[in-house]
Amino acid sequence: MAFDTDPRAEPVRLSDRVYAILALPAMAFFRLFEWPLRFLQRILGIGAMPYVFLFPNLAFFGIFVITPLILSIGFSVTGGTNLFLQDRPYVGAEQYGYLLECGNHLDPTTCREDRFWRAIYNTGTFVFFQVGFMVLFSLITALILNREIRGRGFFRAVFFFPVLLSPVVVALIWKWILLRDGVLNAALVSMGLERILFFVDPTWSMFWAIFVSVWAHMGFYTLILLAGLQAIPPDLYEAAEMDGTSKERVFWRITLPLLWPNMLVVIVLALIKAVQIFDEVFVLTGGGPGTATQFIVQYIYTTGFANQVQNFGLASAASVVLGVVLFALTIVQLAVTRRKDEG
């Protein structure tokens, strides 16, 4: 072959050969599609081929995203307990009315569906503190990891590791630490302190819900911020040093403004994820004590599936409300990232 004798060709590395061998089964697999695709191209024409390639993904998207979306809108405007849409009577906006009706919107006890409003207030509290701490701690971690410290690679891996764990695993790990007879209480007792029943105290439960979800996802945001920090030219810091800039001013006037696009991405992504919080906290506290850590997604889940009377209509209406909120946040995120790309 001509390649082999080309003097400019780079020498073939061993790893390349290994990959080439590993790739053989994959190539054999893709060969299977060659004939059907040729056939489709013959009958549909080359212009239709992009759509042929898009079809599988669009089909999945349609079945698992678009259809449920339309169905849940359908469920939210019908009543009764029937599962099949054609058997459910049309009730218009009644479900939404029931969900949103309150004597005083600031006090969940005056609402007709007080569990929903409690979930909203719980979620609000959670989002406020969780996003705040998330941004703060991932920023601090990124700033530290951006320094020339010993074992930097190791620490980066350590902080990113929890991101790779399944939420249920994360929650179980912390549950075993925090239980009445957990590791933490054992440590407290051995130091001569009182045992604390974390999951019986509403404030502690909320605290640990926030703490665990920050711990689990911080690595991801740290990585985004670290990338932003490393994109700041080191020259600027030297110029600032020559300009006699104090450390704090360097942070507030140079690092933070130049990191701001990444910060916005982190804030918005963290917001979206926090509003959707469910699995970790559900496994950790089960929403308790009482409803102290019950959030919107858990409300939807229990209303629709876990209660004795499965109220699909009300659950769907709550989903639609949540969907609208998330949609608005996503629009903000898109606007933010677009501005970053232009800037």
Partner: protein
């Protein structure tokens, strides 16, 4: 009054020493240019003076005070970076004002200084723009402006013109010279372009491999290079340098390179049977008749610039010789010409590369 002194400054990165004990004295108001090939340590030396790098040995003295442990921000120097290093999120005005705000200078004073510098550098129309919206030359001016407003003890420039195109570079070079005349501050300027060095400097410091090869006035370096490195580095086109064997011939020496022999008078320090290098600048080679000639050579390339002519010639045993003649010469490629070296302008270097004679008796 700003005197900067380096005493036996050494810099090592881990095991690798890149600056090998440099002594240097920079006087107040002087325009000093560090010049040398890539990797010789120019930027490192400048950054050591700035305080952006710590020395591994020796001391840096500014106005009589050893500043080895004084941070860059407190040395009172201003630096213009090769990349300009403008703050991208601040307007031109803010970029220039930033250092002054750090020093908590009153608003009116800041405004006065920035406006003044902007007028001097002709960047007034862009004061509200971001650096992104400026051309390379305009950014360069802003970077210089940022240094000027601080009224520093000395200006440090690291290859400030190397990102500009040739024409703009020449224009900015003139402006910098004018600026130095106007401001009169001490300036240390790093470049690898020896033309920039010759035209701007009061004092040139030629660096080679982490050592000072020679420091002095531009024309002193040109006329009296201390070694073959400086001889070859300063001057464009380069000095012709020829390696030769030395043979005694009764009244003086024969410098023999292959088939070519150049006869020179007695040179102190030159020994028979040793090797040596002689150098002659392109403008010190004359075209003569056959009887008078030192070398008979073939023209390989003739560059006719109108006002002057460059000939690139080859002769057996010699490297390519560059010859510079004023005016226009009817010489063509392949033609054989006879060359004579001006003995009074010839340089002879010993086997170690150090100079034995700059100009020979005739």
């Amino acid at each position: 009054m700003t005197e900067i002194k380096l005493n036996k400054v050494v810099k090592a990165y881990g095991e690798v020493e890149v600056i090998h004990g440099i002594d240097l004295e920079i006087h107040s108001g002087e325009f000093v240019v560090f010049v040398g090939p890539s990797g010789c340590g120019k930027s490192t030396l400048l950054r050591i003076i700035a305080g952006l790098e710590k020395v591994s040995g020796g001391e840096v003295v500014i106005d009589g005070e050893v500043v080895n442990t004084v941070p860059a921000s407190e040395r009172g120097l201003a630096m213009v970076f090769q990349s300009y290093a403008l703050y991208p999120h601040m307007s031109v005005y803010k970029n220039m004002a930033f250092g002054l705000e750090n020093a908590k200078m009153p608003r009116e004073e800041i405004d006065k200084r920035v406006t003044e510098a902007a007028r001097l550098l002709q960047i007034e129309p862009y004061l509200q723009r971001r650096p992104k919206a400026l051309s390379g030359g305009q950014r360069q001016r802003v970077a210089i402006g940022r240094a000027i407003v601080r009224d520093p003890k000395a200006f440090l420039f690291d290859e400030p013109l190397s990102n500009l195109d040739a024409e703009l570079r020449v224009a900015m070079r003139k402006e910098l010279a004018g600026l130095h005349a106007k401001l009169g501050g001490t300036m240390i300027y790093v470049t690898h372009d020896q033309v920039e060095a010759m035209t701007l400097a009061d004092t040139i410091v030629v660096l080679s491999g982490g050592n000072v090869a020679q420091a002095g006035k531009p024309l002193d370096l040109y006329n009296k290079p201390r070694n073959t490195f400086v001889a070859g580095f300063i001057g464009s086109p380069r000095m012709n340098l020829v390696e030769a064997r030395v043979a005694a011939n009764g009244t003086g020496f024969d410098l023999v390179s292959g088939a070519q022999t150049i006869r020179v008078p007695e040179v102190p320090g030159l020994e028979a049977q040793s090797s040596a290098t002689y150098g002659v600048r392109p403008e010190h080679i004359a075209i003569t008749g056959e009887d008078d000639a030192d070398v008979t050579a073939t023209v390989e390339l003739s560059e006719q610039l109108g006002g002057e002519t460059y000939l690139y010639c080859s002769a057996d045993g010699l490297p390519q010789l560059t010859v510079h003649q004023l005016g226009q010469l009817p010489v063509e490629r392949g033609q054989v010409i006879h060359l004579k070296f001006d003995r009074s302008k010839m340089h002879v270097f010993g086997a170690d590369g150090n100079v034995l004679a700059n100009g020979l008796p005739t």
